[in-house]
Chain length 284, copies 2
């Protein structure tokens, strides 16, 4: 039975008892609208931790676009129902005043890794993410936190912040979960029309094809340009970015280091993001 | 016997054992050059906590002025000697690479309370303070942290940050410790010539006199202007600010709320700060 907790005081009572009993705590931060991607994070947490807290908070501060915030799906009852059979201990659903006390004035910023790609296209987004994630870590007192690799840059921003602030928590990355046609699961996919949903699988297909071409030694700029044209011609437009980056710093990709190919593109009024690993050929 | 610890790994081993044994941990963050003000914080921590960690770290990121950073006194051996009879458990002396891991990119900013006064005159200072204080809290895993009221605005910035980030630590303010002539103890006082040191007591004297005049109903602006002239004429110049502020928000002072009179002034090439409480007359 998953207990729904709304107040920090109640959560603190629980976590104090758990910690006193020597239990390890895992947290899965979510904005709700739970799908199999989230559930895979919950299962990973349950496999490794004695207690699991799923947080559900649609964080206003990480939306740079008021319409996106307003349209973000809110389905708490369905979320609780979908979570229940898994046996997570707590669904923590704080309201904004519980997360941000009156007069809240503190922001956590991570320079470098948060600046390109999503950071460039969604001003303030990663300040909002870093801040709320640190708050949720402190509120839940978790030992481990589970994040999906679908939001690759977010994962690297959170890792950097945790290392930099010496937060006593381990970040556990989990692979993106994909539909049968390859589309990475996302709460925003619900907003695609059936026709657009059918075409959306082109995004991961192009990513994988582009990664394969680069791994086979294809010249990077023309390969990315060709892939962008393919996406735009199929109606995935605009392509906000399609870039090969260092997997950890999100700076320039370096031969001999893990790289990542990342994309953001619009389809049917919905902004989709995805990414895949790229193993760069050793420098000739 | 106070144990000197330089590595975070060693500190974490200690604090893990302490916490497992149910001990409460107090931390006294310092930049060294310890004087009776710091020792009063250590004694307060020892009275309330099972274990006490004194941190000694001259944080480069909170100095907006390279010369001030270079000139800041560094007296680790003397600090260890002065601390030893008190029986603090640990003197934590990390180097900069231990505090800021390679590639460190994370900053904590507190808007509002950090902006006027010190914030206006020392750009970036409170970002540096907030960030390093959060790092030290996370590194030490302390339950309580002790700060002197001499750095009044710093105390309010730290309190705001702790509330905003839900840091699981209690901030304990302790009164400024003053020399017999009233000058608040500060590591920077060492840099005053004997003549300047003798004149420095005018600073708290003028503060107390000004507070008394305001409490007696004196009009604020002319009272502050008169006090500024008095300081400047005695060689305490420039006066960077002498202001009456709300004691908590550092915004405009409000009748019926605790207020604080705060000053920063230069003497003999040394920047001195001080503050006193003011009880505003009820609004007429």
């Amino acid at each position: 039975m998953t207990r729904i907790v709304r107040s920090l005081a109640e959560l603190r009572d629980l976590t104090r008892d758990w910690r006193a009993a020597g239990a390890t705590i895992g947290v899965v931060p979510t904005m709700g609208a739970l799908h199999d991607g989230h559930l895979s994070l919950v299962r990973a947490a349950q496999a490794e931790c004695d207690r699991v807290i799923v947080t559900l908070f649609v964080n206003p501060r990480q939306f740079n676009n008021a319409e996106d915030f307003a349209k973000y799906p809110r389905t708490e009852d369905a979320d609780a129902a979908i979570l229940s059979p898994l046996g997570a201990d707590v669904l923590f659903v704080p309201d904004a005043a519980e997360v941000y006390p009156p007069g809240h004035a503190t922001t956590i910023s991570v320079s470098g890794v948060s600046e390109p790609l999503e950071g460039a296209h969604r001003p303030g987004h990663f300040d909002g993410v870093a801040t709320v994630v640190a708050l949720l870590f402190n509120m839940t007192q978790a030992d481990r936190a589970y994040f999906g690799e679908k939001d690759w840059q977010q994962l690297q921003v959170v890792r950097r912040m945790v290392a930099d602030l010496h937060l006593p928590i381990q970040i556990v990355p989990c692979p993106a979960i994909r539909a049968a046609d390859g589309l990475a699961l996302s709460s925003r996919n619900q907003r695609l029309s059936p026709d657009a949903r059918a075409r959306a699988a082109l995004l991961p297909a192009v990513l994988l094809d582009t990664a394969a071409r680069i791994e086979a030694g294809g010249t990077i700029s023309p390969t990315l340009a060709g892939a962008t044209v393919k996406l735009v011609e199929a109606g995935l437009s605009p392509v906000e970015y399609l870039e090969l980056r260092d997997a950890e710093s999100l700076g320039e990709a370096q031969p001999g280091r893990p790289a990542r190919l990342l994309v953001a593109a619009w389809l049917d009024g919905v902004r989709l993001i995805d990414n895949v690993a790229v193993t760069l050929p050793a420098q000739g």
